[in-house]
């Protein structure tokens, strides 16, 4: 098991954990830094400041209680649906690929793709927001025409590692794909 430090496309530090369970089974985990206390403080303070300004002019206490409510609900939604701590790619030769992401709240979502459906794993260039980035993708076979690609499934969508990290994962994946 090895752990390396990389950066994501915005220059933030992320870590890649490679675990080799056996010759044909490997697990890659990309972990983003935990939710920082500073960011929470900044967001909370800004919402409350706005609420106080509104309260100052309207003299209505409902504004303050709703501000508390908004921060709480917002934070819960954020850790439950937005903030992803780990993204894991488990590749088992001849069986398939399991992609899971665990949210900051502990919720996990997992999908499994059978090896028979996978055509290849590639590094692709894509236009994302106002940038052109590299991303690791799984190409799925078209059931009607085995030569063609029907869908492209992007991996590590929330952490978005840079090319050097992707190349490392890509090489290991190709080793396993070459075996089966």
């Amino acid at each position: 098991m090895t752990e390396d430090e990389f950066t994501d496309i915005n220059g933030k530090a992320i870590s890649l954990q490679c675990q080799s369970h056996s010759n044909f089974c490997r697990e890659f985990t990309v972990s983003a830094p935990k939710l920082s206390l500073r960011r929470i403080m900044v967001y909370t303070c800004s919402v409350w400041l706005v609420a106080y300004v509104v309260f100052f002019f309207t003299q209505n206490t409902a504004v303050l209680s709703s501000a508390i409510f908004i921060t709480l609900v917002g934070m819960m939604l954020h850790i439950h649906f937005v903030k992803i701590d780990h993204e894991t790619l488990l590749i088992v030769g001849s069986l398939g690929v399991q992609v899971s992401s665990s949210y900051a709240s502990g919720r996990e979502s997992t999908t499994f793709i059978e090896m028979s459906k996978i055509k290849d794993i590639v590094i692709n260039e894509a236009i994302y927001m106002q940038r052109v980035i590299y991303s690791l993708c799984i190409l799925l076979k078209d059931p009607s025409d085995p030569g063609a690609v029907s869908t492209v499934v992007p991996l590590f969508q929330s952490s978005k590692p840079r090319l050097n990290c992707l190349v490392k994962v890509y090489r290991s994946c190709q080793e396993i794909l070459a075996q089966c």
Partner: protein
């Protein structure tokens, strides 16, 4: 026929080997070139094929070339063409006639990302109709990159729209490092329109692929005389003149046939003429033609007719002559420079003059005094080749790479001094804003976090060495 083709292949191979040897010996600098234009395949036209062929020849000469254009329908993202030519289809909004909307700013983030990740040294923009080309020139100068612009068309000076475009062109080209025009007429036109120093304007003509346009006299019917017209059926191409010529000549010469390829709003004019004079069996309208079908139409004819009212450099007449046809054309724009006198009959852009010219050529055709198609082809095939164009364009890049890009304060000064008090000040202000926007972007996304792209072409190309290890989607 087969032998000739084989000989052509042998020639091109020999050229390639020669190129390889010369490349090995002389240590000419290699550039990272970015071609920018709104017009590229799948859109069809002269600019599109110019960019494609030029890029292919530059790749062959060892440069790294990428093409940037806007998204065409479903075709967006990054694609690879033959010889690992990389094309960026950027999702920018199309406004009018396949040209993107321009706000001077919104394309900066994407273009900057492309320029940085591909380590571009020369930005080469094409066509003055393309807003994206002007935008990219503007941004490239802000980022301190060398710029080259190729103008493919002629403009007027009198009407409101051309006065406005000319002003924009003045602003856009006033600090561009070098400008390329396709003919001397086009150079004169551009220098006047954009108030440029003629020193920084070069003339490099277009070319045709001579192996694509070979004559084949067996395909044509010598019992009749066929006149071929291939052009878009629009006003600029003089389709109204064609509508006048057809009935006049058809009445005089019963064995005369017309073959017209192309589509456009003026098709109705030709259809009316055909209807009125009952010429359905003698005037065939083929509709829009694909590039690969053009030769099959050309070789059926004896005479190629071009009725353009304005033209910077007419590719169509070179293609026609390359297929061994007698060429009759209007004497407008850069056309008189294109072919040597004995291969072309020039007329004034009037019905009577064109009819006269055509009658002369028909008479020669009947008397059998015209040179055989193979002779014409062998003359034309050496006149305009893409390798020659690429070689000359490379010299422009070499020259441009030695120049330093003007820093911002000099640029502002030049804009104000060169473009008039009002437009100069406005665009100097926009240039400053663009610079500030660039600083903001560099702060948000520093150059160091933009991944450098893997080279597909050029001296460090991975493509050839490792085959299909990398896939494109």
């Amino acid at each position: 026929m087969g032998q000739r083709k084989r000989a052509a292949i042998r020639d091109s191979l020999a050229n390639q080997i020669m190129d390889g040897i010369t490349l090995g010996h002389q240590d000419s600098p290699k550039h990272n070139i970015c071609m920018v234009s709104d017009f590229f395949y799948p859109n069809m036209g002269g600019v599109e094929s110019h960019i494609y062929q030029l890029s292919q020849c530059l790749i062959e000469r060892g440069h790294k070339v990428i093409i940037v254009t806007h998204a065409y329908g479903n075709r967006k993202g990054i694609r690879y063409l033959t010889n690992a030519l990389k094309v960026y289809y950027l999702p920018l909004q199309v406004m009018y006639n396949q040209s993107t909307a321009t706000t001077c700013f919104h394309s900066l983030p994407l273009l900057r990302c492309v320029f940085v990740r591909e380590r571009i040294t020369v930005v080469h923009a094409h066509s003055s109709f393309s807003a994206m080309a002007h935008d990219s020139l503007f941004h490239a100068k802000t980022m301190g990159l060398n710029t080259v612009f190729t103008d493919h068309s002629l403009f007027g000076f009198a009407d409101v729209s051309s006065v406005l475009t000319n002003k924009l062109l003045t602003v856009s080209l006033c600090d561009t490092s070098h400008i390329i025009c396709v003919s001397y007429t086009s150079k004169e036109n551009t220098v006047l329109r954009a108030a440029l120093d003629p020193e920084i304007v070069s003339v490099i003509p277009n070319a045709v692929d001579p192996t694509d346009f070979t004559p084949d006299p067996s395909q044509r019917d010598d019992s009749k005389i066929t006149i071929v017209v291939i052009s878009r059926l629009v006003y600029r191409k003089g389709i109204d003149l064609l509508g006048g010529i057809i009935p006049e000549l058809c009445l005089k010469y019963p064995q005369l046939h017309f073959l017209i390829g192309g589509e456009g709003p003026k098709r109705i004019v030709l259809e009316e003429v055909r209807e009125k004079y009952q010429l359905h069996d003698r005037v065939r309208l083929l509709g829009a033609l694909e590039h690969k079908d053009v030769r099959n139409v050309l070789i059926q004819g004896h005479i190629f007719l071009n009725t353009s009212l304005t033209e910077a450099f007419c590719m169509a007449i070179v293609e026609g002559a390359s297929c061994g046809l007698q060429v009759v054309s209007t004497r407008v724009g850069g056309i008189p420079e294109v072919l040597p006198k004995e291969l072309i009959t020039l007329c004034e852009p009037t019905v009577s003059s064109l009819c006269e010219g055509l009658e002369m050529v028909i008479a020669r055709q009947r008397a059998g005094t015209v040179p055989p198609p193979a002779t014409i082809h062998s003359r034309v095939r050496t006149l305009y080749t893409w390798r020659n164009v690429a070689e000359r364009t490379e010299k422009v890049y070499d020259r441009v790479a030695k120049e330093t890009v003007q820093p911002l304060h000099r640029r502002l000064h030049r804009l104000q001094a060169h473009c008039g008090p009002v437009a100069g000040c406005i665009f100097a202000f926009i240039a400053v804003l663009d610079f500030l926007f660039l600083l903001l972007l560099q702060w948000l996304v520093p150059d160091s976090v933009i991944d450098l792209a893997v080279d597909a072409s050029g001296p460090h190309a991975l493509w050839k060495r490792s085959g299909n290890r990398k896939h494109s989607v």
